[in-house]
């Protein structure tokens, strides 16, 4: 797998540095070839706050042909852009706002209006030549696409023309593609180019973003939409780093950041297959904080280090293509085989939603331990989920809950022993354990296991520390608290127009709005249901029109069918608990009074 | 007649003697033999007796036998008359070519036909007579007559013929003129003489030629330089040719000298000036001309007048001791060296003289190499320094001793045209002319680094990506 790693925002940029760390000799004054990153990945840093790009000298401006590059996402919008004026006047959103005020809903709203406002669409098409969204279109065509294999072939030429027209007709845009991208394109489009040339381009996208930041996750879905307009099955993954507890350096409150994280996760995990990302890797910054005692540089290094087995290109002989991105994507989307009776019983088509993938990573010197110690180091001891940070789990979870495991090893292990060791701990049958072996070096061996959806299947798990349910329950609860206590902060942004405020109010507080949905999510977590996030929400769309997804979309755990009675009892006891809480009573009162 | 006489003599003289002898001799014998016997039978017995007596007399040495011999001489007589009218004679030449040059070899064959039989023949005496071109009378060629004896005839076609040659005349090389030469045969038998018909020969002469006339001499020779006049001589007759070289002055009017040689054709004729003393010091600076006259005794020709030689002036110069001064006492091979020598004009008759001076250096690797272009200097009576500041050596001369030579176009006080000097101190052995910390030293290193870097970049781009 050779992804184009897109770091979004501050955290994404810092982590991206690790991915793009030069493996080559540093000659300082000159570079004879391209920058060599681990796994030959390419990368770009997307940022909305120009001031953040000024204070560093690692990234250069993409428009000037620098590499590694950064791209200001709104650089494609001129200061006197008609589109910008329209959006500002009608909605109160500034397309060129620095950092977008770190509000996830700001970005979400801003991208929605480009999808839903026909007049804005027309203005955009006229001004940006067929591009419906100057931000995501610009980021995709100028920033990301040239690094990918999508820049080759017929669709490449069509899209290139579109992209170049976008650039030509837009104020402030560079009138040329930066040289490194042009050369990559030329490499890709060399007459008779074989795999050797095309293999230098990336076969997937991996977004790096902090969940809870500002710029971060708001861009992922809009950019993904652009990709999906060209290639429905182009692999796109996101690595979300869940923000740590407490206030951050910019004094953004914990609740605000968790709200941003929740909104981001919600949006990412409610786009169906073929419309959004193919998987969300989750890491918890709190675990990293505790492990590395707040050393952000070490934390970033650990994040990158955990993914090295995934990115390493040294497959076992004969297995060169085992882990190319489309193959991994297919494995990640794999569901259980069904028979006709089950389909009939269900009565409706299953809609697939992107899975959550929890990385578990461990490394050990080559001379110490064996495969069992490696696996144990990744998962931790069985049943020992807390305290966090003592094992290789990078997000709280119970490994035994996973329905699939993708195991990436670097070392000299046989497939059988890997499968045996992993199965011994997470109790998955071997056909649900996908193994990707890479050749090790002589110093260390390591293992990355991506656990797919390691949650659900039992109620009350939200109370067990160290589970995924527990962590999500925590952040959703805090988000709800923040929403409840900060209506003015949420809606009182000075530039918002009334239409925007109305829509936001409806989105957050309206019927079947975010609050309701988050409460539903809590219920699902408590009941052990899957998936957690089901119904996509829009700020400017008609939420009522959107049909709720009434059924589990990825996997129907067999346990639910058998434990319906227990479930009913569980519901009853929960209702009793709920009715006891003051909060619940207040909400009932409000409903009755409204 | 003679026969009858002889018969009578025998009968009347010998028989009585024989009888006497028989008597004398036979006194011891009997007379019973019949004393005066009868007729014929007694004649035969008498002849036998006579013969026996003669034998006895011969065996005893009887003096009377001589007397008998005298009596027995019988005067010659012929049975027929001696024919003097039908003698035939003639001359022939071999090879049969009547047009000859003086040097052509030939053989004169005289043939005589004698009509008389052998018994009455006489010995014939032959003489060859020749009338040479320009002469008025025949002369006898041979000193001793050729003789044909009576029996030296062969019968050829019913004739008695005999031939002989005259070895005294085999060519006309002594002739001084050309023209018709007449030969005839004079035959004599002691009493009669005959003259044959004339054999006329045409003596011709082809004149000699002189070609390829050159002067072999140094460029601008001095009077005492080896100057040789050369010419190629040819004569179709092979005659000995007389060649005279005439040396004239530049105006071609006055002959200064001449020398003569005789030479056989086919040779290259040469006249060495030094050998004949054609030129002396007074001739320095003058121009001369020359021509040849040549003849084979019959014809004399001369060539056109040719120019040469032009003698150059010869001045005597004085040359001092040559010196060499290197730029650096280390005597590196790549440095300049100043070669100098003092020279002046010693010829009091010339206030100044232009002399071409050359410089040569001698090393084991480059023996007597021209070190510099020649220069022409004007020498006066005052000494002046002639110098060459050059870089005469190359790397092969490092660590070698060297010598040098000044060559000049005039003779010096030692009568030589050059002066040599050997330098004792050898050239420095250092080969590389630059230091490490110098433009060239650092430049070389930088060039190597750049080349290595360039190759590295190219190989990396081509094979390592």
């Amino acid at each position: 797998m050779k992804p184009c790693v897109v770091g979004i925002g501050g955290a994404g940029g810092n982590i991206l540095k690790q991915f793009l760390r030069n493996q080559d000799l540093n000659l300082v004054i000159h570079r004879f070839g391209e920058l060599l990153a681990f796994g030959d990945v390419k990368g770009i840093w997307l940022e909305s706050a120009t001031q953040d790009t000024q204070g560093q000298n690692y990234y250069g401006n993409l428009s000037e042909g620098s590499y590694p590059p950064y791209l200001i996402c709104h650089a494609g919008v001129g200061d006197s852009s008609a589109t910008r004026s329209y959006v500002m006047e009608k909605y109160g959103f500034d397309l060129k706002a620095m950092g977008f005020d770190r509000r996830a809903e700001y970005l979400k709203a801003m991208f929605e209006i480009f999808e839903l406002d026909p007049e804005l669409k027309a203005k955009c098409s006229e001004e940006f030549k067929r591009s419906d969204n100057p931000l995501s279109g610009f980021m995709w065509n100028t920033g990301i696409r040239p690094f990918t294999t999508l820049s080759m072939g017929k669709s490449a030429r069509v899209s290139e023309k579109a992209g170049s027209k976008d650039q030509e007709g837009t104020d402030g845009l560079p009138g040329r593609i930066p040289s490194i991208l042009r050369s990559l394109n030329e490499i890709g489009r060399t007459k008779g180019a074989g795999e050797l040339k095309s293999s230098r381009l990336c076969d997937s996208i991996l977004f790096l973003a902090s969940l809870g930041g500002g710029t971060g996750t708001g861009f992922i879905n809009p950019i993904t939409s652009f990709v999906r307009s060209e290639e429905v099955i182009f692999p796109i993954f996101a690595l979300g780093i869940l923000t740590e507890k407490g206030s951050d350096k910019r004094h953004a409150a914990e609740g605000q950041r968790y709200l941003g994280a929740v909104i981001a996760m919600y949006d990412l995990l409610t786009r169906e297959a073929g419309q959004g990302i193919d998987g969300l890797l989750l890491m918890d910054n709190q675990i990293l904080m505790e492990r590395f005692e707040g050393n952000y540089s070490a934390m970033d290094g650990a994040i990158f280090g955990a993914l090295k087995p995934l990115l390493d290109l040294r497959n076992y002989p004969g297995d060169q293509l085992q882990d190319d991105a489309p193959a991994i994507r297919r494995v990640i989307w794999e569901v259980e085989a069904e028979n006709g009776k089950e389909q009939k019983d269900r009565g409706h088509e299953i809609r697939l939603l992107p899975p959550m993938l929890v990385p578990c990573y461990h490394t050990q010197p080559d001379t110490s331990g064996d495969i069992d110690t490696l696996v144990e180091g990744a998962f931790g001891k069985a049943g020992n989920l807390f305290p966090l940070g003592k094992d290789g789990r990078l997000f709280p979870c119970d490994p035994t809950k996973a329905d699939r495991a993708l195991v990436f090893t670097r070392g000299f292990f046989s497939t059988e022993e890997i499968a045996e060791a992993v199965s011994a701990i997470i109790h998955l049958p071997e056909n649900k354990i996908k193994i990707y072996r890479k050749l090790g070096d002589s110093k260390n061996e390591d293992m990355l296991i991506l656990l797919r959806n390691p949650y659900g299947g039992a109620s009350g798990e939200h109370k067990r520390q160290g589970t995924l349910e527990w962590r999500l329950h925590e952040i959703i609860t805090l988000s709800l608290k923040y929403i409840d206590e900060n209506q003015t902060n949420i809606l009182g942004f000075q530039s918002y127009k009334e239409i925007t405020k109305d829509r936001l109010r409806n989105y957050f507080y309206g019927e079947n709005g975010l609050i309701d949905e988050l409460n539903n999510c809590l219920d699902r977590l408590e009941n052990g249901e899957r998936p957690i996030f089901t119904r996509p929400l829009k700020i400017f769309g008609d939420a009522a029109i959107e049909p709720p997804i009434t059924d589990s979309c990825l996997v129907r755990p067999e346990m639910l069918a058998k434990d319906k009675y227990d479930l009913r009892e569980m519901v009853k006891s929960e209702l009793r608990q709920i009715l006891k809480s003051e909060d619940c009573r207040r909400r009932i009162r409000e409903i009755l009074e409204s | 007649m003679k026969k009858i006489l002889i018969t009578f003599m025998i009968f009347f003289l010998v028989l009585p003697m024989a009888a006497n002898c028989a008597i004398t001799l036979g006194t011891g014998g009997s007379s019973t033999g019949g004393g005066g016997g009868g007729g014929g039978g007694s004649r035969q017995t008498s002849i036998d007796n006579l013969l026996n007596v003669i034998k006895d007399a011969k065996s005893h040495g009887d003096p009377k036998l001589d007397e008998l011999k005298k009596l027995l001489y019988i005067e010659p007589f012929v049975t027929k008359n001696y024919d003097t009218n039908n003698f035939s004679m003639g001359l022939a030449i071999e090879p049969d070519n009547k047009t000859l040059t003086r040097n052509d070899q030939f053989k004169i064959v005289a043939t005589v036909g004698n009509p008389n039989p052998i018994e009455i023949r006489r010995v014939l005496y032959l003489d060859l007579e020749a009338l040479e071109p320009g002469e008025k009378a025949f002369r006898k060629v041979n000193s001793i007559p050729q003789m044909i004896m009576n029996s030296e005839y062969d019968e050829v076609n019913g004739k008695n013929l005999s031939s002989t040659t005259f070895p005294e005349l085999t060519s006309f090389s002594d002739l001084k003129t050309v023209g018709p030469a007449v030969l005839r045969l004079h035959v004599s038998d002691g009493k009669n003489e005959w003259i044959s018909d004339n054999l006329t020969l045409n003596i011709i002469n082809r004149p000699p030629t002189l070609t390829n006339l050159t002067i072999q001499a140094p460029d601008r020779p001095r009077f005492n330089d080896p100057i040789t006049y050369l010419a190629d001589l040819s004569d179709p007759d092979g005659d000995l040719v007389n060649i005279t070289l005439h040396i004239l002055d530049e105006s071609q009017k006055r002959e200064l000298k001449n020398e003569t040689q005789e030479a056989m054709p086919g040779k290259r004729v040469s006249f060495a000036a030094n050998q004949y003393g054609f030129f002396d010091k007074t001739d320095s600076g003058k121009n001369f001309t020359y021509y040849y006259t040549f003849g084979d005794g019959i014809v004399t020709n001369n060539t056109t007048i040719l120019k040469g030689p032009n003698l150059r002036r010869s001045a005597t110069i004085w040359v001092g001791t040559p010196v060499v001064t290197p730029d650096d006492a280390n005597q590196y091979w790549w440095q300049n060296y100043n070669f100098s020598v003092e020279m002046k004009n010693q010829d009091p008759t010339e206030p100044s003289v232009a002399v071409t001076v050359s410089l040569f250096t001698d090393t084991p690797a480059h023996p007597w190499k021209t070190a510099s272009d020649s220069k022409t200097v004007t020498l006066t009576q005052q000494p002046q320094t002639v110098y060459f500041n050059v870089k005469p050596f190359d790397v092969l001369d490092a660590n070698q001793t060297f010598g040098f030579r000044f060559g000049y176009s005039e003779t010096d006080q030692h009568q030589r045209d050059h002066i040599d000097t050997a330098w004792i101190k050898p050239l420095n052995a250092k080969l590389v002319r630059y230091d490490l910390v110098s433009g060239l030293g650092i430049g070389n290193i930088i060039a190597l680094l750049l080349l290595a870097l360039l190759v590295s970049i190219l190989v990396e781009r081509r094979f390592y990506r």
Partner: protein, 198 residues
Amino acid sequence: MSETVPGLYLLAVMMGMVILSLIFHTHYFVRVTDHVKKTSDRNFQRKDLMAALHIPQGSNFNTMMLFSWILFLVAFAFLYFMTPDILGTWDYFRVPQVASDSFGLVYFGAAVILIPGILVALFVPQCYGYYQISAQLKQVTLLTPVFLLASIACSVYLGTIYPEFNPFYWYVGYVALLISLALMLTPIAKGYIEEMRT
């Protein structure tokens, strides 16, 4: 052999290092192949394993290693062929016309670069592509051209003072050459030692 420096013995030391590295390199592959065979579930060809083991080291590193190996040959040639009597009659100064030329060193060096240099460069540095070379080690190998330059400078100095000879500079040149060789061979040795510890 030169009376003043034991050139051939010291040459044997360098050759020994090279041969030892070759042995390490070969045995490294043997061990890795053994590891892979034990854990692989299918047969494979050697070239597949070589392709799988290959690690791109980057254009900068490759260029520097090529540059270093080429310069190494030049430095070796200068040290041994510009010092008389070390290799008998094989002596740069036996061709005085080249040796005395203003750019004689360039000609000599260019001949070394273009003939054996390219041949070595095509094959030898490829071995680095099979070892994990840390960034720090790569930075350390950047010292190799510095030492080689020092060696070349010493050799050039000896050439300029020829026929005089200064053993001190020869030894300095040799030591610099030896250090540079050690630096170039360190990645192989290190990789092998790490492999041997497994």
